[in-house]
């Protein structure tokens, strides 16, 4: 279980820059998510850390020891690929034992560790099955066991849950996070799923267009995104309200709100749907429910006024119908102001 530090990592394939100037740290035993849209260079970054791709510049430290020149088989960073890549010609047992066999661990010790690992991932009794006989979730657990069997210094997971169906995905996430905590395994998880990143990580590094835009705890990244780009990427539905700050007051069509320590200028306020509250209104209410999307645990509404549309996530205790008149209040203390203007489509 090592502490990982990445310094100024860059890589280009030909003229195409994949990642540039990457810096982050993962404390020993923690899980860091690399979150970003597809094509952001997440997998390349992971392969660089594993030693499969040579970076153009920069250095990686495992416990303060530089490892860029160390070949992958000696580095101790085990990568679990998105599609698990179990060796199809080996049984589950042989797969899990692979790393140990390669390291020359004697047979009796090997089979003890394999049994232990299979027990850990609840795959006892599958020792002599071949990968093609396993379901997706089982393959994933075997892949995890195979990676953990070699006691890696760093575990690298590349979109590990994206090939599973939603229900299994949820339980595998819990299972993996649980296992990672229990073994105090330093882990870097690559994902494009912001919910997954929020739920699983100790810290999140947001990777967009080949560079890291923000590193922080899930709460930090969600509530205090460093830029509109980051905010855009976290959360599905958002409200954007344009306005102007003058003398510490943000004025927008929704009203005037205090914005202390904010320089004067044009701003876009980003308001998350859960910070828009609606309540039963009367004939004089300005807002009308435009559409309703019942999502079980919460209900999404779109509410309209003559000049504005807002998305709102409300609890399911009271359900409004399309066309209902409602009152809307916005919790502006949770809103985020970004100076950069953006075109919305």
């Amino acid at each position: 279980m090592a502490e990982v530090r990445v310094e100024n990592l860059s890589k280009a394939f030909g003229a195409e820059k994949i990642i540039s100037g990457i810096n982050f740290e993962v404390a020993s035993g923690q899980l860091l998510s690399l979150l970003g849209p597809s094509g952001a260079g997440k997998t390349t970054l992971l392969k660089i850390i594993a030693g499969l791709v040579r970076p153009d510049t920069g250095e990686i430290y495992f416990d303060d020891v530089p490892v860029v020149k160390v070949p992958p088989e000696k580095r101790g960073a085990v990568l679990v690929f998105q599609d698990y890549l179990l060796f199809p010609h080996m049984t589950v047992e042989q797969n899990v034992a692979f790393g140990l066999t390669m390291a020359g661990v004697p047979r009796d010790k090997r089979s003890k560790i394999v049994a232990e690992m299979l027990d850990l991932v609840n795959m006892k009794g599958y020792e002599h099955k071949y990968p093609y006989e396993l379901s997706g979730g089982q393959k994933q657990r075997v892949a995890l066991a195979r990676a953990l069997a070699v006691k890696p210094r760093v575990l690298l997971l590349d979109e590990p849950f994206s090939n599973l169906d939603p229900r299994l995905r949820e339980s595998m996430r819990e299972f993996t996070r649980d296992l990672q905590r229990r073994m105090e395994m330093t882990t870097i998880l690559v994902t494009h799923d912001w919910e997954e990143a929020l739920m699983m990580s100790d810290r999140i590094a947001v990777l967009i267009n080949g560079s890291i835009k923000q590193v922080g705890t899930p709460e930090e990244v969600y509530f205090r995104p460093a830029s509109l780009e980051v905010a855009e990427f976290l959360g599905e539905k958002k409200n954007y309200v344009e306005g102007r700050v003058k003398d510490g007051v943000f004025s927008c069509p929704l009203g005037n709100f205090p914005a202390p320590q904010t320089a004067d200028g044009d701003y876009t306020a980003l308001i998350r749907p859960e910070h828009v509250k609606i309540s039963q209104g009367g004939e004089t209410s300005d807002w009308t429910i435009y559409d309703v999307r019942f999502a079980g645990g919460c209900v999404y509404y779109r509410v309209v006024r003559k000049d504005l549309t807002l998305v709102c996530a409300a609890n399911n205790t009271e359900i409004y119908r399309q066309g209902d008149k409602v009152n809307v209040s916005v919790d502006f203390s949770k809103a985020m102001l970004f100076e950069k203007k953006k075109n919305f489509d």
Binding site: P71, P72, L79, L85, F87, P88, H89, G99, P131
Partner: protein, 266 residues
Amino acid sequence: MERRFVNLLLYVAIGGILFPIVVLMLWAFAREWPWPHLFPTGFSVRGWIHLFNPTTGALPVLLYSVMLSSLVAFITVTLSLPAARALAFYDFRGKRALEIFILSPMVIPTTAVAMGIHVNFIRIGLADTFWGVVICHLLPCIPYGIKILTGVFEALGDRIEQQARVLGAGRLKTYLYVTLPLISPGLITASIMAFVVSFSQYFLTFLIGGGRVMTFSMLLFPFIQGGDRHLSAVFSLAFIGTVLLWVFALEVLFRRWVKKGQYFYM
């Protein structure tokens, strides 16, 4: 309608393969088969006696030939492996040109270059030798070996090797424990192809071997040319049978290795 058409094609194809073999079989036991008889008019095993007779020496030639072609197949696969892997996994300057160069023996007839090879082989003392023949047989075999194995490597992808590497296997161990077992079906196919191409070589063997290196196809050729249908048929059947037996032996030999469920996809 369509189904019927497909069936018809199938019958034609099967007939096209079976009919000549049936004719060969009949000829192999025919003393004479004059027109307009539908079947041979006399029975004979003259050719078979000739084939198995220890003094006429057809069987030793057959064994020698099998050994030579097996060696050619082995060398072809050994040389094709690294080339195919490089072509499948790496991008480099001039890759396309190299590919065309490697496959060129498929389109340029060996006859066209055999002369030059012969002259040079005489100069370095390889003409009229076993190894001279082996080396020049590689020429038409290697393109097939590389082409087949490149396809196999491409289907396999390089990520499974990367997976082995991060789990602690060095390059050599990765190759031995992961790559080779996984591409073994392709190895067998490439070996068979190379064996058949080498086993059927007549012209190259004749020119480079100078008649001193005697392969089975060189034995077969004069019979066909001389119009002895009975002997030609017997030797042709022996030819086909040898290839089939060789393929079968290879499959049996590697069956342990090529297990069920061993696919590139999972």
